[in-house]
């Protein structure tokens, strides 16, 4: 249960090896969270050790394959059954390749949509059902400025994030009155292993900065957080630029 100071006890990370996800969970543990479940494909031994060192009293791992969407509700249920009440679920799994890769392989593009969007929805709905039933808790979804107005150079990834963002914002509305909610996180370009080799963008940020923002937004009960904050202003401008101008600057 969340306490009067906004500290949480139990945290689940879907995408147990995500740099941003682990940074968020590590900060939550440093702020007081004690029980963690990491859902990942394959072992996550380093992450487990790091979280135990940061002060977690239990860190369990659960096998989770983002592409296997039909297994997701079962995986989510088994995690909740194991932990009891879950205060925060960070859903951080995603894939990202350069647009040329997707141009060359529409199958790879479809898989990206499955992971970044379909799997986020199949897990997100299952999580929402459990949060609604327990009457409290927050699902954290990692959107991106890339989904605010999609650039041709980032077409497939941007489209998946646009879909995820719309899903998260509306899922929060759907949960209104239940005590549960969704926090949609919209970072600028984040330097992680996911984005290695991709061209960096202005207002680049780090997993640690994203984690700080998420922990603050959770304590404050926000539903959307931009990282860094200036990205929110930039996005507002992006949204209203005339199409010819947008084509020119986003190329």
């Amino acid at each position: 249960m969340k306490d009067a100071l906004g500290r949480v006890d139990s945290v689940v990370l879907l995408g147990g090896r995500s740099d941003i996800g682990l940074a968020v969970v590590t900060k939550l543990v440093a702020a007081g969270a004690r029980r963690v479940v990491l859902a990942a494909r394959g072992p996550a031994d380093d992450a487990v050790a790091a979280l135990l060192a940061a002060g977690a009293t239990s860190v369990d791992t659960v096998e989770f394959d983002a592409l296997a969407v039909s297994s997701h509700a079962g995986v989510v249920d088994s995690i909740f059954d194991k932990l009891g009440d879950v205060d925060v679920v960070v859903s951080a799994f995603a894939v990202q390749s350069a647009q040329e890769v997707y141009d060359a392989s529409p199958t790879a593009a479809a898989d990206a949509v499955t992971v970044n969007l379909s799997a986020q929805i199949s897990t997100g709905l299952a999580v929402a059902t459990r949060l609604r039933a327990q009457g409290h808790g927050t699902l954290v979804l990692l959107s991106s400025i890339a989904g605010v107005r999609v650039r041709p150079a980032n077409l497939v990834y941007g489209a998946t994030k646009a879909g995820l963002d719309a899903f998260g914002v509306t899922l929060h509305d759907m949960l209104a009155g239940s005590g549960a909610g969704v926090l949609v996180v919209r970072p600028g370009f984040v330097s992680t292993k996911l984005t290695e080799g991709l061209p960096t963008a202005p207002f680049a940020t780090t997993p640690e900065a994203v984690a700080d923002a998420v922990v603050g937004a959770l304590a404050a009960g926000k539903r959307v957080v931009w990282v860094p904050r200036v990205v929110g202003v930039v996005a507002a401008v992006f949204r209203v630029l005339p199409r010819p101008v947008w084509r020119k600057i986003s190329a």
């Binding site: 306490d3 009067a4 009457g135 005590g179």
Partner: protein, 452 residues
């Protein structure tokens, strides 16, 4: 959800206005309705709620059922024996209005009259007379408890009975208290004779309170922002009920009149208003207002016991982030620990109006009952997430190490695992629950948070 047809969904928080969660709330009009609701509650269980004066999450049950008892408010008094039988939702305020005109008074009253008798049992509340009269539970002669299977049990007021010992101070986790029979005390008038005196620092305040048993009611209001030689400076108030003969002629006509009014309602305030500067000024004023030489005055019961009840919703003064109250007790001999904790609150300049210091007599025997022989300090604090978490964790550990404990009715931030160190009878409490409620029907946000 299957429990939707029993009640209405509501977001609930405690008096501190922190950590709200959503539950289905139902307001029974009879004991039978409580039984039926309990048997139909879903997997998220049930907890009783009265007037919501617990500071934290003790009377919340996220996703589950909350039984609001306030419609069950019948009160009867045997004017000869002073035995009171009240339904769980009857407030001490309402009970006082029945009792005082007939020459009786509640045996224990906390700093507010707006608590229910069910809550008084669940938190085993104490008052300024604890050093003489003990906690509320010691005055309970019997109670009706609705159990996990919906059956209504009469539980005799005997601390040798594990179910009674688990229920007194048990935070509602043994069942829903439906009715309580307790012994009232005599009070010929609605007035108290009050001796007010200053104590220049903590040592003097402790000295004045250590052996005092001449007064039924004693409490020290302590200035936590005073530093150096005046650290812990206090104003002590010591009171006794006045007999009719002792009352001045001017008050004779309305000797038993008890009709306190709520005069003001506090507006919601920006959180920054309570800061060390404004609180320091207030505390200074208040200390100087107390007479330099001890002086005796006559005060009404409402004025003496419940000064804050004159202001409705005063908890809003703490702004949107809410407030919390930190209340601990440490053994009498642990004055060094007490001093250390006062110093720590002082050093962190956690802005607070006056804190309350008091000496407790021996405990009641309730397994999770808070009062136990020693010094108790209660301090209201505005919630400042970033600044406070570590401080309270450390203080909790020091309190536990000294053989003390935190009051569960005030707790909103204690960590899992601490209750085990503070409440030596927790295992007995768990054994009773395992016996009478094996599937864990009675559960609160607090019991989930602390793993009770």
């Amino acid at each position: 959800m299957p429990i939707d047809d029993i009640g209405r969904p509501a977001s609930l928080h405690g008096w501190g206005r922190t950590a709200a969660t959503t539950a289905t709330v139902m307001s029974p009009r009879s004991v039978a309705e409580i039984s039926s609701a309990i048997t139909r509650a879903g997997s998220r269980g049930v907890i009783a709620r009265g007037l919501g004066r617990s500071y934290g999450d003790a009377a919340q049950n996220s996703g589950g059922l909350v039984v609001d008892t306030t419609r069950l408010d019948r009160i009867s008094l045997d004017p000869v024996t002073g035995l009171v039988t009240a339904e769980a939702g009857a407030s001490l305020d309402a009970i006082m209005r029945v009792l005082l005109p007939q020459g009786w008074f509640v045996p224990v009253t906390p700093g507010t009259r707006s608590v229910t008798v069910g809550g008084a049992v669940g938190a085993d509340i104490h008052g300024k007379n604890h050093h003489v009269d003990g906690s509320f539970g010691t005055w309970v002669r019997s109670l009706l408890l609705v159990g996990a299977d919906g059956t209504v049990r009469e539980v005799a007021g005997d601390f040798g009975n594990p179910l009674f010992a688990a229920t007194i101070g048990g935070m509602g986790l043994t069942g829903v208290v439906a009715e309580v029979t307790f012994q009232a005390i005599r009070s010929e008038t609605a007035y108290v004779s009050v001796l007010t005196r200053r104590a220049a620092n903590l040592a003097e305040a402790l000295e004045l309170m250590r052996d005092d048993n001449d007064y039924r009611y004693t409490v020290a209001w302590i200035d936590l922002l005073a530093r150096g030689e005046t650290m812990g400076r206090s104003v002590l108030t010591l009171g006794n009920h006045l007999t009719r003969a002792e009352l001045p002629a001017s008050k004779q006509a309305r000797a038993s009149a008890f009709a306190p009014a709520t005069r003001l309602s506090a507006p919601p305030m920006p959180s920054g208003l309570l800061n060390p500067l404004s609180v320091r000024a207030f505390n200074e004023l208040w200390y100087r207002k107390a007479p330099r030489v001890p002086a005796t005055t006559i005060e009404s019961i409402g004025h003496f016991f419940h000064p804050l009840d004159g202001v409705a919703d005063w908890n809003r003064l703490y702004g949107r982030a809410g407030l919390m109250q930190y209340q601990f007790v440490v053994p009498l001999e642990a004055t060094a620990v007490l001093r250390g904790l006062v110093e720590r609150l002082n050093e962190h300049q956690l802005a607070s109006f006056l804190a309350v210091l008091k000496r407790f007599g021996p405990g009641s025997g309730g397994y999770l009952s808070f009062p136990t022989g020693g010094w108790t300090l209660a301090v209201d604090l505005p919630v400042r997430p970033g600044r406070m978490a570590g401080v309270f964790d450390e203080m909790d550990r020091e309190v536990a190490a000294a053989g003390g404990r935190i009051y569960l009715a005030k707790d909103a931030v204690m960590r899992r695992g601490m209750a085990e160190q503070m409440y030596p009878d927790l295992e007995k409490f768990r054994a009773v629950r395992a016996d009478i409620d094996p599937s864990g029907v009675f559960v609160s946000d607090q019991s989930r948070r602390l793993g009770l």
